[in-house]
Amino acid sequence: MAKFLLLAFRNIFRNRRRTLMTLFMVGGGVAGLLLSGGYFAFMTHGLREDTINSGLGHLQIFTADHFNRDEVRVLDTGIDNWRQVAASVKTGSHVRGIAPRIDFYGMVSNGIKAAGFMGAAVDPEAEKSLGFVSRIETGRDLDIKPGGEVEALIGKELAKSMNVGVGDGLTVLAMTSDGALNGVDVEIVGIINSGAPERDARYLRITLPAAQRLLQSDRVTNLVVGLDATQNTDQAYLEMLPRLNGISQHLTLKKWIDLATYYKQVNTMFNGIFLFMGVIVFFMVLMSSVNTLLMSMFERTREIGTMLAMGTPRAWIIALFMVEATLLGLVGAVVGVIAGNLLGALLNSSGLHLPPPPGYNVPMPFKVRFVPVEMIGSSLLVIFSLAIASIVPAVRASRLKIAEALSHV
């Protein structure tokens, strides 16, 4: 077997120029896949962590009703005893902290003009402890004032629309949980630029106590749970479920992935593009390799005839060609992985940026992540492609008529 592999290995390097061309093509395919896959991985990883750290957290606790029916009144499906819930899950493994949230909506007015908003009420300290980033362009983050003054952060586009800036005041109007209209004056302490102008045109954030006063309710919409690392989500989820069963209100626990619709769409799109590229590389390697391997077979016709004349089983000839192609694929894959990693490292250190994607106004860093699964997958793809490509030449070689092959010039 060792001698057989040796023969296959040496045969690869018989025609160095042709082998180099094949390696260049196979390696190029692998490197291309690694760079594109690495870029997609960088994008999705960045988007994942960005999504989680911009406030989604790793897990979220809601009432079961939140997903079963629409709210008739604000906080209709909110969590009643949220402090008790928070206390019961806070001691779970990997849990870094709990942040209560209220989602609400209403109108803001500057006295001259009014606009609709989608609001979020947060506990600034809890948010900070979880490392959630507010992307404040100007001003500062929220602070809970003991005197009852209310601070607010608003989206950049909303601030522009209302013609206000840091230090200015606005009136926030919303329906209370009893269905009455209530209002509170807020001072703008910061302007948020999330990167998505459409979101920033309707975004307003105030503190949790202020929102509870405005909405006349002690409830919260949900509790956001931050973990020590994203990869611990599944474990923390399984450990947390039994803890929630002990709460009188029927609660439901969601993982971040279940709530990150945009992330899932982007991930699916990237996976689709990557798969498509993989198919292209597969056929590119397949088609060009069939030709190369057939040329190799024709050049070795007399040699194959000699081997068959000496009694070499035809299956060995098939195996020889397939092993040669597989080894070629393996060497090409190694070349491709090395080239892909070197180019990736070069790209990462270049500081290149791509223009912002649609709906965003922040340039995207052009970087790649080195993903072992992609290296293995791309390598297996080209090896498999070459093995498939070798079938036709291998079978043709094994079926050569010996007498004719021996007289081949």
Binding site: L7, E303, T306, M310, G311, T312, I402
Partner: protein, 241 residues
């Protein structure tokens, strides 16, 4: 004496074009016509004749790398017409050794590895392979060149490696097709002496095709072919059969 080869009224014809044989315009050329031949173990037999006389065709048929159109051939008592391709392959692997006009060594293998190849395909273990390769290379005087690849060997050395490869698995019969055709006089003489010596020393049967008069001088028996027919079968002592 034990009979190694029995060629019984063998003919071989080839189609001249790709039309099916039933097609009225289909034409054949006859390479061998009703050839009969018996070869005993230990013989050193030459098949002589001009180019196109059917020498290579006859050797190919005896060597089971081609099949007769009519007639049958027995090799070491086995009727080759009854064998399936795998059986023919096994027969070639175990009972036959081949020496080709153009040496036909595997270029990426060293001399020793080339000699080892027939043992490799027989599944013989590495220790035994090494021993037999050393023995075969010594018998052709190429021990010192064992680790050279064919492109670094002279024509004569290459053909000696081919002879070592043909005898290493101890076949019943060695078939050599024009073994001296690509060699100069000196190397041709060396090769003839080598083959003849092996025949004399270990009783190995050789059948070779040639039109080299130097080789014919050393041959006890000469079968002459012309236009695909055996026209004479002579031994040192005179006509045979």
């Amino acid at each position: 004496m034990e009979e190694i080869v029995n060629v019984e009224a063998v003919s071989r014809s080839f189609a001249l074009d790709n039309r099916p044989s039933s097609h009225p315009a289909h034409s054949f050329v006859s390479a061998l016509t009703h050839a009969s031949l018996r070869v005993n173990a230990g013989e050193f037999l030459a098949i002589a004749g001009p180019s196109g006389s059917g020498k290579t065709t006859l050797l190919n048929l005896i060597g089971c790398i081609d099949q007769p159109t009519t007639g049958r051939i027995l090799v070491d008592g086995v009727d080759t017409s009854q064998l399936k391709p795998a059986g023919m392959s096994k027969l070639r692997r175990e009972k036959l050794g081949f020496v080709f006009q153009t040496f036909n060594l595997i270029p990426v293998f060293t001399a020793a590895e080339n000699v080892e190849y027939p043992l490799l395909i027989q599944g013989i273990n590495a220790v035994e392979r090494r021993r037999r390769v050393a023995e075969a290379l010594e018998s052709v005087g190429l021990t010192a060149r064992a680790n050279q690849r064919p492109d670094l060997l002279s024509g004569g050395e290459r053909q000696r490696v081919a002879v070592a490869r043909a005898i290493v698995h101890r076949p019943s019969l060695v078939l050599a097709d024009e073994p001296t055709a690509n060699l100069d006089t000196h190397n041709a003489t060396q090769l003839i002496d080598l083959m003849h010596g092996l025949n004399q020393r270990i009783g190995l049967t050789f059948i070779f095709s040639t039109h080299d008069a130097r080789l014919l001088e050393h041959t006890e028996r000469i079968v002459r072919l012309t236009d695909g027919e055996v026209i004479s079968d002579t031994t040192q002592g005179g006509l045979r059969g």
